[in-house]
Amino acid sequence: MTNTTCYHCGDQCGKQHVRFDERDFCCNGCKTVYEIFTTNGLSTFYDIEARAGTTPNAIEGKYNFLDNLEIMEKLVEFDEGGVQVVNLGIPSIHCSSCIWVLENLNRLHKGISSSQVDFPKKTIRVAYRTDTISLKALVLLLGSIGYEPNISLESYNKKQAGVDRSLIYKLGVAGFAFGNVMLLSFPEYFEVEEFWLDQYKPVFRWLMFAFSVPVVLYAGKDYFISAYKGLHSKLLNIDVPIALGILTLFLRSTADIMFDLGSGFFDSLTGLVFFLLLGKFFQQKTYAYLSFERDYKSYFPIAVTRLKENGVEENVQIYKVKTGDHILVRNQEIIPVDCSLVNGIAEIDYSFVTGESRPVTKEPGEKMFAGGKQLGGVLEVEVLKSVSQSYLTQLWANSVFSKDKASQFQTITDSIGKRFTIAVLTIATLATVYWLIYDASMALNVFTAVLIIACPCAIALAAPFTLGNMLRIFGKYGFYLKNTNTLERLAKINMVIFDKTGTLTTTHRDTILYEGMELTEEETALLKTTLRASNHPLSRSLYDILKSNEIMTLDEFQEHTGKGIEGRVKDHSMKVGSAAYVGKQGSMTTSNTAVYISSDAHIKGKFVFKNAYRDGVGQLFGELAQRMQLGILSGDNDGERQQLQHLLAADAEMLFNQKPEDKLNHIKKKQEHHNVLMVGDGLNDAGALAQSDVGVAVSENINVFSPACDAILDASQLNKLPRLIKLSKKSMRIIKLSFLLSLAYNLVGLYFAVTGQLQPVIAAILMPLSSISIVAFTTLGTNWVGKQLK
């Protein structure tokens, strides 16, 4: 039975192995989902993809706030005539089976009239009749089959943002016009001297003109706006020569057909805009299901249960919670405000905040910070500060969160664009002056021809295609960048600063060391037996590492929550717990979590729990240190300074006990001389991530948690970081090579332009040819370079 996997979720069937309907299940939760599916005719779920299910979590009571009318109204998109439509984000959507079962929700409940999944965004849109099912019942139904929706404070504040489809429209307009103009200008290319064609030339030309007008005025308007903005702030960005090219093409062509000088360049014009927009479209690749803008709102609950003075519970919106209120925090709920514990046993997991997942025990009267997650029973707490005033949430008041890094950074295209514009204008002027002297009638022709042929279409395409493709390659290896601008900034990094807990260490494994007197075999057996009875996570980890096979029957067992456990066999007793509990005097401030052992009232020693570093951290530092400076910025104490110093280069700076604001300020200071890459994971790193040139959030499960950042890195890929940085540098080299290539095309074109021989057909060939060869070059180049990641 050791190798059986769960029929529903595919996990190993461990202790809670369940046999049902001749199938194996890892737990009762999975079995229940299977039952629901099979009894409702949804067993096809298992045919589409095997073992694709998700284990449901217990969520009873968690969504009581959905009964609150005001909150519910904020969440639903449409509410009229007894029908409501709601759009819910479900992080656990991951395969085609999920799509299938979620789109057949109406078989589970007749109140649901339709449901539609958006797989890339991991959302589901459900329409249901309110007389048969409420929003709360719907959410609980989804939860019961393992698709618990993510309803956070963010969904409450979210404005109904419309989808921006303007780029697709523009691309459509440009493509439509490009195709038609190409066909219409065909007869002109071959210069057939046919009476019939000559007679209708003006018709064809004015039709082309008609098709080009929307391209210039609508599809290409962004280039004019951007060029105007650039000039306004005295910047020559790449859009200036582009806008100039589009405008010259259009005016010159219109003049040509008006005075019957030629056929104009409408084909080149529409083609140019079409290719440029295609580049933009390609660059737009985003990971719809990943959010790079998250702040604490994405993790905090919408509502809490407030205790009135007469002991009655009520659900209130979280912003309405005031200092002095008493609120309830249930198992797996996040503490939304700074508060002090009144009642209950608090086991707080601060992993959202610090990355440290080992729970902290609090006793009544102790202060607790917002952002911690309660594991265990229900707590009653007294609110000390409102949500926005709490220790953690205050960080978001810093102006760094409203800054846009991308707008402050000059991209490689823009810096080239500046020199390019100057060069083009110089050439155009020189050529015009030359022709003014020798043949004044050609001067205007040459001037416009230079501007047309020099329009940097290929240059403008090089960066979007290289970076867009690189983004895709990075995504395949678990490194998700927010946009192409991030990739350019990544290439300039020369200092890397790491957070420690949760970033360099993993939350999955512990290193447990024993310090103290050696335990006898009998004592070890007794210790293991005692631990066996406890459900505390520390007891569990300790139980797993003890090498004793002898399990005795305890005569007595006591668990003192928050302190420790005690077991007795015959006349031997064993106490396991905190220093104070076992009677250790003058408990010094240890830097690590430790569990003390006493046997028959003699203190034996302690087990020290240390976070295990991720695999390959030493190698990661080694590779990075060759090319850039490293640093550590940790919110923890300096208990592991020695160990880290050993891993890092000798001159690496290490700072401990850093508050979120300290981290932010430290990065700011370093930025005076360096381009800083910050690697962090918790909400306490959010300020540093926002301030740094590139902020990378390391996440063990990319769908679940990451603070606002520029990029999300799958934790298992952390050791690939040096190679990823190297690749970003190589991408920049590819872009520079493409610039050279497109410059060569431009020089050929300029020859025709300056000598006054530019025919529309030459422009019509040169423009798409250069664009396509640049796209081919960058795509092949990035794919070839990307192979090195394997």
Binding site: T44, V117, D118, F119, V163, V203
Partner: protein, 68 residues
């Protein structure tokens, strides 16, 4: 009137009709999610077989056998 005007009018109106169809498809959200429909269309159509119980078993066993 020359026949070319008629031809041009026809060709352009056909082109415009397709263009309008494109605009409609974008507007109705068909370009918002380009992945899910590709999966959805591959699902076996067995919703009908489960709605009436009498022949559900025979049909669902058929679908299963075609799946394997």
């Amino acid at each position: 009137m020359s026949v070319i005007y008629v031809l041009l009018a026809i060709s352009i109106s056909v082109a415009l009709a397709f263009f309008a169809a494109f605009l409609f498809s974008v507007k109705s959200g068909q370009y918002d999610d380009t992945y899910t429909p590709s999966v959805r269309m591959l699902f076996e159509d067995e919703i009908v077989s489960h709605q009436d119980d009498t022949d559900s078993k025979s049909k669902s066993s058929q679908t299963k056998s075609t799946n394997q």
